[in-house]
């Protein structure tokens, strides 16, 4: 069945389109929040960080709206098959996006603290790169959703390995900085939380890509992806 096939009840199509429109709007806001929070950190731009923190309200409000509309469609239209999967994935993806928004907000919050202390050389750039990587992943995952493209979603899932590798590298880098000079501990702890949060965003984006695969194929993908987080086994001497 191709995607353009319409329901006999055209209002059903309008309802589904409206919910998915809200989800995409939410996705755009989250992408922006990730980029701007990373920019605010790199440039020690407290004003921009403040705007990111403030913008999270809009993301939360959209999530609520998506859930309300999805509930209404379930109650009134009793969706089945692909329609049911659409509604279910919209609910799950909006939750993933909302969490990503929270992480971006937290990044911005730590930026306002970090702006008061001297930067740790190099670490900011790595964090920025990682954030950029996750934003691109999210962009691709949302494109895969719109195009109902399971292969594209599959590639997004694989991309998360790069994010995990970046996180491992940053973890190592931060450990080195802290061992070199205890005065680095405060900024490095903040930077570590930031890196960890970006890594978690990558996991949420992976989950979005998995939902796209479920939406298209009706089956959740196997979790065959190798785990790349090696930090539980790292110590300062390694």
């Amino acid at each position: 069945m191709d995607n353009t096939e319409q329901h006999i009840a055209s209002a059903f199509d309008r309802d589904l389109d409206a919910i998915q429109g809200m989800l995409m709007k939410m996705g755009g806001l989250v992408e922006n929040a990730i980029l701007e929070s990373a920019n605010s950190l790199e440039n020690r731009d407290v004003e921009l960080a403040e705007r990111v923190r403030d913008g999270d309200k809009d993301i939360d409000a959209l999530e609520e709206q998506v859930n309300e509309e999805a509930t209404r469609v379930i109650a009134l239209r009793a969706p089945t098959a692909r329609d049911l999967r659409t509604v279910m994935t919209v609910i799950k993806i909006s939750a993933n996006l909302e969490r990503c928004g929270d992480y971006a907000k937290n990044l911005a919050k730590r930026t306002t603290v970090l702006a008061e202390i001297p930067p740790v050389s190099g670490a900011d750039v790595s964090v920025k790169r990682m954030a950029r990587e996750v934003q691109l992943m999210l962009n691709a995952a949302l494109d895969a959703y719109i195009a109902r493209d399971a292969d594209m979603a599959e590639r997004v899932i694989l991309q998360d390995e790069d994010v995990d590798k970046l996180y491992n590298a940053i973890f190592r880098e931060l450990l080195t900085h802290m061992m070199e000079d205890p005065r680095n501990i405060t900024p490095c702890m903040h930077l570590h939380f930031i890196a960890k949060n970006i890594e978690r965003m990558g996991d949420h984006v992976t989950s979005i890509a998995e939902q796209v695969i479920y939406l298209v194929t009706g089956k959740m993908p196997d979790d065959a992806r190798p785990k790349k987080d090696k930090t539980p086994f790292m110590d300062g001497g390694s």
Binding site: M1, E5, Q6, H7, I8, A9, F12, A78, P79, T80, A81, R82, D83, L84, R85, G218, K219
Partner: protein, 266 residues
């Protein structure tokens, strides 16, 4: 079609199939109404037949107790077995077959007799009761099974046609179960009922499943989803897809099934 008659998780020995139909074709004069349908119906299971009007689902249902015999221009070919026995064998008495394979129709059709006689009719003609007391027992048991006893026990001698629509349909179900059938065929049993009576009949279907094999034809996809464990989708006389109801309604394999159940033009 054989490859999708049984998903793996419920593959059972032949013995667990109540009905096995292979290569069934039905013609109304020149009209080829059912095209090479093969399907296995499990015992103690509700199987729903869904599909748009004229898809052949009722026609196929009527093959299972040879109701099509009553239509002169109707010709049925293929192999249909109930517990391994060919139901179209000339030695099989269609009346005996219909005692084993009961039927409930779209519109409640009680006989113009008392409530008691409606239920007692089948057991009487099949000689299932040896005396008045035993017949009384069968009537009470059947009415209880149809969840109607409490509402009619004080007026068993009143005409069945005086009951409400939902009560009449449950009376017809009581009449159908009175002969202790092994299979109950239901052709749109709730389409003339209000939501409360529908819920009562659905509850009854679920109870009857403990003892019988049920096959229900319904236009309400929500009803099929609610009451059945297996669903068969018919389209233009073909059996398009047959599988677990949960699979059909979440992830159907055939695009025609998906178009139909999601309410798209297909």
């Amino acid at each position: 079609m054989n490859d999708m008659t049984m998903p793996e998780q419920t593959t059972k020995a032949e013995a667990d199939y109540k009905f096995t139909a292979k290569g069934v074709d039905v013609f109304y004069a020149d009209n080829h109404a059912i095209k090479d349908v093969s399907v296995d119906i499990n015992d103690k299971t509700v199987t729903a037949f869904i599909g748009p009007s004229g898809c052949g689902k009722s026609t196929f249902l009527r093959c299972l107790n040879r109701m099509n015999d009553t239509i002169d221009i109707c010709r049925v070919t293929g192999d249909i077995r109930l517990d391994g026995e060919d139901i179209n064998d000339p030695k099989v008495d269609p009346v005996q077959l219909r005692a084993k394979v009961g039927m409930v129709f779209q519109k409640p059709n009680p006989f113009p007799k008392s409530i008691y006689d409606n239920v007692a009719y089948g057991p009487r003609i099949h000689g299932l009761a040896s005396g008045k007391a035993e017949l009384d027992d069968i009537v009470e048991k059947s009415l209880r099974r149809a969840a109607l006893w409490g509402e009619v026990k004080d007026r068993l001698d009143k005409p069945g046609t005086g009951l409400s629509g939902g009560q009449q349909q449950r009376l017809c179900i009581a009449r159908a179960v009175a002969t202790e059938p092994e299979v109950l065929l239901m052709d749109e049993p709730c389409s003339a009922l209000d939501p409360i009576a529908t819920a009562q009949v659905e509850e009854l279907i679920d109870e009857l499943r403990q003892n019988y094999s049920l096959v229900i034809v319904t236009h309400s996809m929500q009803q099929a989803a609610r009451v059945s464990q297996k669903t068969a989708f018919f389209h233009l006389g073909e059996l398009v897809e047959f599988g677990e109801t949960a699979d059909i309604f979440t992830n159907p394999e055939d695009s025609r099934t998906e178009s139909y159940i999601t309410g798209r033009i297909g």
